[in-house]
Structures are given as structure tokens and as C-alpha cells.
């Protein structure tokens, strides 16, 4: 049994590369998520640069039409699935357990599995660049374009299988956060005392749980069409390409809220903190977030107004789409209401949060304009739509996430980011964003279609395109300012202390960076804006709180042990999916490699299940059975 014991023993190193590979600490996984997502954000940003340079002048020949198709496909796919979603995930991981007073997530190993699966899925899609089979059918890969006769290379296979793996990662994380938020709140934190960011994470996780299986089925059907010659979306066999659009957008529209709700939650934390006022209309903010989550399921066909679903369907989806603007508008008014009469501090996180509100209003209004199906018929597939999505996803999601980075950076690293560089970063991004994307409204209304690789000077689109391309450099400078700020802060930024912003959340009661056990003693939550209540009472009674919770010897608090099974299982999932790229000319089993992947995953799950529980039971983790 000696060997068996060795295989089953849990890894114990606390530093070095191996400790990161086997870590189950939500804070480390959060950092891994954040850094990886930012690298893909940069990569996708460079792809956007190629697009803008190609379109800067008419009749440009900088890149070929094929490369252009690959660039807009990979730019959108990477930004959505490998930058914005995992960056939100980074905050879920790092902040949620701290914000609810827990020592870790409900399933620490599942969390590690989620990160490794995400990384492998992202690498699988990007491996397509290595073998020169890059996906090129747009981020929604519409049938018939994605079917074998029209995309004969392996690009679509990379796209479909890579997304499948990323979907497994998202689902694993979403299961974890639903259970963590419902079940691991510290005593006293009732649902209506949860910070807005925790609420929005819960709604987002539920959306992920319910939306991802639909795209999973869509991707399975697409892969089967391509690998086994079925006719799900193939008209020659009687299939209907519109079914793909339905499956994609039934997932795709909740996905839009998956991208925007977490930043909305982040902004709802920041605006009260820097206005020195509780969030205006907290219950309504919670309610409108839930309504958005529910109604997000009833609007998907507004992506398909020009498909020809008929006047009844178009009218119904016009009405539901206009209705969903109501809870969104409520949120905007409540953010403004929070700032109204507050003593506002214009620190960098607050600037990004206000920028979020302002730019999201622009994106929201253009959204309402194509909620109306007749008006959408003019805007469909033009640069007007490109302007809209960038105002809600860049001006919205990315600004919200940058606000979150500046807000929580002192908690995560213990150091305050440089204010001057932060403000420079904000203004470059804010101005650059508007120079780049605002002209696209006019370009779209003047008839410039999306996804064309070049245009003739006769159309009169020249100077607006040139302005948009110039704006890219301003944006780029903003990102460079951020990177400079990041590196100088990590190296010798000002020490932050535990509560640099006088914030209301539980995460600010503990040291920065948080000790491995988070909370030495389980907090008793006294109300909404817990830490404010505690600090105000302490100050009123003459014993103001100036220190974080005192350190204790980490050895006295039992935490989940590291494990290497998550990465083994994740690797199995990768082989299982990637195996469908390698076809063998055998009679019965065309795809033997996925079987190997399945076996690796199975061994991983077995090892995971029978891994010895850590020696002594501890608070709130999967290990104590």
C-alpha cells in the first residue's frame, strides 16, 4: 500500500510553481483568473488593433480578407469568453468569500478545476493560430457558414470544442458560487443584507447554470454536423440553420447579462463607498437585478429581427426588449440617487464607476433604439450595432471591471495603486473609448456594414473610420498607463492598510492582503453595510476601530489541503474535447482520442473522490466527508 498512499497523499508545498498548480485557495485562484484574463484581454485588444488599422483608410491591403475574418472572430470570442467573463470570475473568486465572511468557497477543488479547465479551453482555441486553422465565422458562428461545405478547415472545430471546454469551466464555477452564496454566508447575513456585488454574482451564477447547457447542446449539434455528417443545421438534409440562431441566442442573451451584471454589482459597491452614503434604494436595486436576470430569457429573438420570424414574434420581442430597459434604467437612477447629496471623492475607482454609468447610458439608449424591430431593420449588421456593443461591453463591463481592479487592488496586494497614473489611465481610456466608438454610430447609420474587410472611398466613410482608428491609440495608451501603474504599484506602491476607502464591506475588516484563513473568527453580521455600522458605533462610543482583525497562527485554523486532481481532471476534459480534432480512418471508431480523455477525467474524478480528507474537519469545505 506504500505506493498507493504516496499517490493519494495530498501535496503540501506552500510556495513555488507547484503550490500554484495544486492550490485550492480561492484568493490564489482569483489571482490566476485575473492575470490570465488580463493577458487574453491584451491579446484580444491587439486583434482589435489589426481590425482598426485595416479599416483606417479605404481600399487598404494591410491584411487579407481571410485574416480579417479571423481577427474579428477571435477578438470577440476572446474578449467575451476569455477576458470579461474570467475577469468577473476573478472578482467572484477573490472577493465573494471575503464579502460573505467565509474562509473559502464551498468546493475549493472544484474551483481549481474551473480555473484549469478555463485555461486549457482558452489555449485550445488559441492553438488554432499555431496550426493555421483559425476560426473565422464570427463569434456566433452562424449556420450555414459554420457548416462543413462553407468552412472546410478546422477553425470552426477549434472554436466549438474550445468553447465547450470553456463552458465546462464556467459551469463548474457557477455551481460553486451558487452554493457558496446560498450556503456559506456568515451568521447574520440574511439575503437582504448581502452586498449588491454578492447579489449580482448570485444572479449571474444562476444565469450561467441555466444558459450554458443550451449552448452546450448547440455546440454538440454543430460538432456532430461537422464530424458525423448529421443535418441539424444543414438544409440539404432538411435541417434549419435558424435553429442554431435560436439555440445560440437563448444562451447568448442571458450571456449579455452575465457580462454586465457583475460590473453592475462592482459599481454598486464603489459608488456608495466614495459618496459616503448607503446605496440608494437597496431593495429596488436587488429586485431590478433579479428582474433583469429573469427577463434576460425573454428577449433573445431581438438578435433575429431580420430573420423573418414574422410580425407577431417581432412585436413580442420588441415589447419584452423595451421592458427590460426599465429595471436597467432603475439601476442608473439609483446610482445617480446614491451620488446625489453625497460627499463624493473622485478617486480612480469612483471615476471608472461614474464613467461606467455615463457610457452605459449611451449604450443603453442605442440598445433601446434597436429594440424597436422596424428601426433595427435599418441598423442590423451595421457599425451602429458595433458602437452599441462596445458602449455596453467596453464602456460598461470593462470600465466596471477596471473600477473593481482599482477598488480591490489594495485588498488583494496590500498596496494602493498610484492615483495620478490611475486618473491618467481613466481619462485616456474614457476619451479614447469615445473617439473610437462614437463615430461608429454615424458610420452605421450611413450604411457601413459590420465585418467588411475594406470599403471604397466613394461611400464617404473615410474620415470617420480614420478618427475611430486614431482613437484606438488613445485607448492603447490608457492600457499602457494601467500596466505601468500596475508594475510600479506591485514593486513599491504605498501600503494600503486594511481599509483605505472607509468602505462598508466585510472584506475590509481583515488585513490586506488577507491572511490565508481570511477570518480568524467567524464574523457576526450586524446589518447591511456591516462595517460602516460597526465603525460608526465604535467611534460614537469612543473606541474607534483603526486596526484589521489581528493575525493568528495559520496552523491553528484548518484549511483545505492542496490537491493535484483538479488539474488532472481538467486535462482529461481538454483531451476529451481536443480529441475530436483528430480523425482516424477506422471503420467504427473515428475518434479514439476522446476515449483517452474520458479515462483521464474518470481517473481524476476517482482520485478526487477518494483523496484522503484533510486530517481534521474544518469550516465549510467539501473535504469533511
Amino acid at each position: 500500500m506504500a505506493t498507493a498512499t504516496n499517490v493519494m497523499a495530498r501535496p503540501a508545498s506552500a510556495s513555488g510553481l507547484w503550490s500554484w498548480i495544486t492550490t485550492v485557495d480561492h484568493k490564489r485562484i482569483g489571482i490566476l483568473y485575473g492575470v490570465t484574463a488580463f493577458l487574453f484581454f491584451l491579446l484580444a485588444g491587439i486583434e482589435a488593433g489589426v481590425i482598426r488599422m485595416q479599416l483606417a483608410v479605404p481600399d487598404n491591403t494591410l491584411v487579407s480578407p481571410d485574416v480579417f475574418n479571423q481577427m474579428f472572430t477571435m477578438h470577440a470570442t476572446a474578449m467575451i469568453f476569455m477576458a470579461i467573463m474570467p475577469m468577473s470570475s476573478a472578482f467572484f473568486n477573490f472577493i465573494i468569500p471575503l464579502a460573505i465572511g467565509a474562509r473559502d468557497v464551498a468546493f475549493p477543488r472544484l474551483n481549481a478545476f474551473s480555473y484549469w479547465t478555463f485555461l486549457f479551453g482558452a489555449l485550445l482555441i488559441h492553438f488554432s493560430f499555431v496550426v493555421q486553422q483559425v476560426p473565422d465565422a464570427g463569434w456566433f458562428s452562424y449556420a450555414n457558414l459554420s457548416e462543413k461545405p462553407f468552412s472546410s478547415g478546422q477553425g470552426i472545430d477549434f472554436w466549438a470544442l474550445g468553447l465547450q471546454v470553456l463552458g465546462v469551466a464556467s459551469l463548474a464555477a457557477a455551481f460553486n458560487f451558487v452554493v457558496t452564496i446560498i450556503n456559506m454566508r456568515a451568521p447574520g447575513m440574511s439575503l437582504m443584507r448581502m452586498p449588491l456585488f454578492v447579489w449580482m454574482t448570485l444572479v449571474t451564477s444562476i444565469l450561467l447554470v441555466l444558459a450554458f447547457p443550451v449552448i452546450t447542446v448547440g455546440l454538440i449539434e454543430l460538432t456532430m454536423d461537422r464530424a458525423f455528417g448529421t443535418s441539424f443545421f444543414n438544409t440539404a438534409g432538411g435541417g434549419d440553420p435558424i435553429l442554431w440562431q435560436h439555440l445560440f441566442w437563448i444562451f447568448g442573451h442571458p450571456e449579455v447579462y452575465i457580462l454586465i451584471l457583475p460590473p453592475m454589482g462592482i459599481v454598486s459597491e464603489i459608488i456608495p463607498t466614495f459618496s459616503k452614503k448607503p446605496l440608494f434604494g437597496y431593495p429596488v436595486m436587488v429586485f431590478s437585478g433579479i428582474v433583469i436576470g429573469i427577463m434576460g430569457w425573454a428577449v433573445w429573438s431581438h438578435h433575429m429581427f431580420t430573420v423573418g420570424l414574422g410580425p407577431v414574434a417581432n412585436s413580442v420581442f420588441t415589447i419584452t426588449t423595451m421592458l427590460i430597459a426599465v429595471p436597467t434604467g432603475v439601476k442608473i437612477f439609483n446610482w445617480i440617487g446614491t451620488m446625489w447629496g453625497g460627499s463624493i471623492e473622485f478617486k480612480t475607482p469612483m471615476l471608472f464607476a461614474i464613467g461606467f454609468v455615463a457610457l452605459f447610458i449611451v449604450g443603453g439608449l442605442s440598445g433601446v433604439s434597436h429594440a424597436v424591430s422596424p428601426s433595427d431593420a435599418q441598423q442590423q449588421d451595421t457599425y451602429y450595432i458595433v458602437a452599441h456593443i462596445h458602449y455596453v461591453l467596453f464602456g460598461g463591463s470593462i470600465f466596471g471591471l477596471f473600477a473593481g481592479i482599482y477598488y480591490w487592488f489594495p485588498k488583494i496586494t496590500g498596496r494602493l495603486m498610484h492615483e495620478g497614473l490611475g486618473k491618467l489611465n481613466f481619462w485616456l481610456m474614457f476619451v479614447g473609448m469615445n473617439i473610437t466608438f462614437f463615430p461608429m454610430h454615424f458610420l452605421g447609420l450611413n450604411g457601413m456594414p459590420r465585418r467588411i474587410y475594406t470599403y471604397s472611398s466613394d461611400f464617404g466613410w473615410d474620415w470617420l473610420n480614420l478618427v475611430a482608428s486614431a482613437g484606438y491609440f488613445v485607448l492603447f495608451a490608457g492600457i499602457v498607463a494601467f500596466l505601468v501603474n500596475f508594475f510600479i504599484t506591485v514593486k513599491n506602491g504605498k501600503l494600503a492598510g486594511h481599509d483605505p476607502w472607509d468602505a462598508p464591506g466585510l472584506e475590509w475588516t481583515i488585513a490586506s492582503p488577507p491572511p490565508v484563513y481570511n477570518f480568524a473568527k467567524v464574523p457576526q453580521v450586524v446589518g447591511l453595510d456591516h462595517y460602516w455600522l460597526v465603525k460608526r458605533r465604535a467611534a460614537a462610543e469612543g473606541h474607534p476601530i483603526t486596526e484589521a482583525e489581528a493575525y493568528v497562527d495559520p496552523e491553528t485554523i484548518h484549511m483545505p489541503s492542496p490537491s493535484y486532481w483538479p488539474i488532472v481532471t481538467a486535462f482529461g476534459v481538454l483531451v476529451l474535447a481536443a480529441g475530436f480534432l483528430i480523425e482516424f480512418p477506422w471503420p467504427y471508431i473515428k475518434f479514439p482520442v476522446p476515449i483517452i480523455g474520458g479515462i483521464i477525467s474518470f481517473i481524476g474524478v476517482l482520485g478526487w473522490s477518494f483523496e484522503p480528507a484533510a486530517p481534521e474537519a474544518h469550516h465549510g469545505s467539501e473535504d469533511h466527508h
Partner: protein, 223 residues
Amino acid sequence: MAYASGQLPTTDVDHTYTTTGLNHRKLLMWTFLSSDCLFFGALIATYMVYRGQSLVGPYPIDIIDIPLTTISTFVLLCSSFAMVQALAATNRNDQRGIQLWLLATILMGATFIGFQIYEFNAFRMEGLKIDTNLFGTTFFTLTGFHGAHVTLGLVWLTILLIMGRKGKLGPAQSLDVEIAGLYWHFVDIVWIVIFTLLYLIGGFDAGPTAGLLIEPSLLSLPT
């Protein structure tokens, strides 16, 4: 709330504390099952949209054998009864009962899979393959994924049975058996929906004109 002035309010809870009192893993299984509902929902929707849209035969009415599948359905539903008994035996620490009822569940589940393999093979012999027509495509995909779920459940139950034979199952492991049971019952319930829609209702579908959900003239099908 009583706590010392100038201090952070804290509390003492033991390591089994959860906000709702539910176990994490049980909540995880329910969350997973809600997700799986949408997975099967999307597959079933695909089948329903393509009902009666096959351009060439064999059509369901030519090959669907309702009496045969009624038997396998009956066996699968009975396995849920055995699963309930296995959990009850675990709770009262009836070692013989645990092994007996888990084995019965596995045998009935395996019987169902046996029928499915027979059925798939029979269809293949009669000329229905996954790429023959839309019926073949949607039928094999939906029932195939259901069969994969059942097979996964069988592997899980077999592991539990091995643990049971080593005497490692008892009231302390009640939750392990209960969660496997939740999964097993869910897979059974999904089959009730599939059996109703694909066999009892869809089993009489013929060529591209019969039993349609969508008027064919609305789809410009190649003729």
C-alpha cells in the same frame, strides 16, 4: 447585537454550519440537475422542432417499437424504487439490504441500457443511422445522451456497491447514497418525458407532412 465596543462582532459556529442548514453537496446536486434540465430541454426542443421533417425514411412509424420500449421503461422506473430502498437500507445500517438494493438498481439500469443497445442495433439494421435523416439525427442524439447519463449513473452506483461490499456504507454515508439517488431519479424522470414525446406521441410520425409542429410551407425546404 451585543459585542464589545471597539471590537469586531464575531460568533462561534462549528464546522458543519451552513446558512440554510442544507449540506453543500446536496445543494450542488440540485443546482447541477437544474442545469441538466436545460440540457435535455434543448435536446428535446431540437427533436420536437424537427418532428416529421425527415426527407427520407425510415420514419418513426416504420421502426419505433412501443411495446418493447414500454418494457425497458417499466424496468427503468422500477429501478427508482430499488434506489429508494437502497437509501432506506443505508439509513438503518442494513448491510445486506444496501448491497441487495444497490445491485437491483444496477441490474435494472443495465437492463435498460441493454434494451437501448438492442434498439439502436435494430434501427441500424433497418437502415436508420445517425446521418440518414433528421429523425435519426435527433433520435440517436437525444436518447444517446440520455443513455450516457444512465451509464454514468451505473458507474457511480457500482462504485457505491463496491464500497457497500467492503462495509463502508452506513448511516454516516447516507448523503453519498442520497445524492447518487437524486441523480438516478432525475435521469428516470427525464426518460418519462422522452418516452412520452418520442414513442407514445412521436412514434406514429411518418414522412414530411405528418405530425408537424411547424407548417412545412413556412420553411423553404429543398424538394
